[in-house]
Assembly symmetry: none
Homo-oligomer: 195 residues x 4
DNA sequence: GATGAATGAGAGTTCATTCAT
DNA sequence: GATGAATGAACTCTCATTCAT
């Protein structure tokens, strides 16, 4: 994607951070290349040295944000024994990351539905989705989770995490109240686990 | 909103359907007034007889879609006894409607996050949200649902329904397999009900 | 110009008065056919039964206003003996008319200089100009007025009347203070008369 | 007003001259931004680099023309002793300028009366008006001019100059016939001076 | 490599005019 | 004759992209 030839790596960062700030603050569609350049402290034309065009820039921003999300989501997950715990750890990671990176997580979200393309499975989010799926599938075979269509379980987990996130965005204390946080996550688990 | 003066009511429908089709197919932001007019089989200027401008048209489309959603969602809900059942009925209604009106439900969704504003509580979706909240709050006091922050329960239900919907979009059979459908919905209920 | 066939003569008046009001209030260029029709209490299309188009309507309005001006300007002028007195009477008439018909006189003025066409001599105002010219020429041959180019004398009188009018618009008392009014007019006469 | 940042100063001139030519030739209201750009030999969008929009451009053109007028009008005026002479010098200056800059002076005029607002005193022409007023007021106290309302004297002078200008436009020789020119101006002075 | 002036396609909107009812 | 919905040319303005410096 990005061509890290002899170009200044710092500029990528400046452009990226500028775009993230603006995408978050006023929406992707309402942000002009001009604004991104100005806010990055460089000239409009320079952006085109680093990115072929707006499309590539947008993709780069999304990929960057998504990559952060992805890396954060897997942290220490494999330390956990059972798949329930792995999944919980993963959810916790994502919630933490969403809170810590509100701009980046918001931007990821704004790529969900501008147009009606299929979201998770084959789309932009497939990598994250695949990881979830692996745990859930294993946990299902394992008997930890309900025997329901795997695609469904994946989707319910994915969307529930969004739900919790939305709640936390407005009630950030929940993040630091271990008990409460666990209860919130338990909600998701309770939904899919075998009783 | 719409000014049904002496203007042709059929044309409101043509414009509306044209807009819905295009908003769905290529996104709200990528659709021009010109395209909407052409696709409706009328001239560009005519659209402005029916709507003051793009903004009003967009609002009209959203309101129209949302209204459909709202009406469908409450159907027969009060026939149910307990709040768990009421909520289940409501969720079923929404899932049915989403499947029956894929364009309209998709469009509603595309008004979620154009910019980073708080979504459900105070925004465009507040009416739907309030209804959910009433049931959930009652069910919570009732002991049917977990004693967790009401806002949280609302959000988890809201987002879970989105999740199921996404699944059904790609597996529409689920909608006509009563057993399966119940199991999917049970997933949401299991998450929030008192065990 | 206007075709008084079997059309309703009252409508001409309605349209005309509506146009005059709007031309005066917001300028000729800023007034739409729609506004004129609405304000006249008739339908947009009807205007086109009475006038071929905007251009013809504008011309009609101008001609109407100008005709009023013309008729008012010659009243009792020939009762006066010498050309100085005739001219003074004429000026007085115009000042009175301007005050009595502020809208109409303002509209006449707004046809002066939208584009840079030669104004008085051959243009729209030629009729009024010709009358002035006749008096002034006669008065000049007579020795009452300075022996200067006739065109010049005409123009200086014409423009001076405008000047007095402008003053009176903001100091309408002057119109009813016979002495003062005479002094104002004397100013014009003093400029062109043989001392 | 004009933002002489790093933009090409020559282009301001090109745009200005293009606009002046078109405003003069076909009227301000009938001139499009497109035409101005094309006639200036640049692209439509470029105009908007130099001016925020049509309104700013129009204001700039007016201010530019008016400034020329203003500067020309005061030249050598204070070399003259009495106020009569000062005023005469000033009038001569304006007549000269009007002849030398027919487009610019015509454009100034076309900002008089688009809508029916009071013209000289408080409006766009106030600066020029104030200067006139100072001389006339002084000359009146001085006994050089008639003891009439100052506003009136200002207006009659202002309008008379317009009258002479109109004459000269069609008889440009008058400008170079010192004797005649003096006689024309004397006409104005004779009107307002104490006999 | 960096710049930002220049470009022009294309967006939303207005309005004089037409014409079926 | 009267209507006003329909039309589409034309307007102002924006912005992704290019390219000479």
């Amino acid at each position: 994607m990005a061509r890290y030839s002899a170009l200044d790596p710092e500029k990528y960062i400046k452009i990226r951070d500028s775009a993230i700030l603006l995408f978050f603050g006023q929406g992707v569609e309402n942000t002009t290349m001009q604004q991104i350049a100005k806010n990055a402290g460089i000239a409009k034309g320079t952006v085109y040295l680093y990115f072929k065009g707006r499309e590539e820039l947008e993709k780069y921003i999304f990929d960057y944000c998504f990559d952060l999300h992805l890396k954060a989501s897997v942290k220490d997950v494999d330390d956990e024994k059972c798949f329930t715990e792995k999944l919980k750890k993963r959810i916790k990671n994502i919630l933490m990351w969403n809170a810590e990176f509100p701009k980046e997580s918001s931007i990821i979200r704004s790529f969900y539905t501008p147009v009606n393309y299929s979201d998770t499975e084959d789309g932009l989010f497939s990598k994250s989705y695949e990881i979830n799926r692996a745990y859930i599938e294993a946990g299902m075979k394992n008997g930890e989770f309900k025997n329901l269509p795997i695609e469904f379980l994946c989707k319910i987990v994915f969307s529930s995490v969004e739900g919790i996130s939305t709640y936390i965005k407005q009630n950030s204390d929940a993040l630091y109240d271990e008990d409460l946080l666990n209860q919130l996550i338990e909600t998701v688990i309770d939904g899919i686990k075998n009783h």
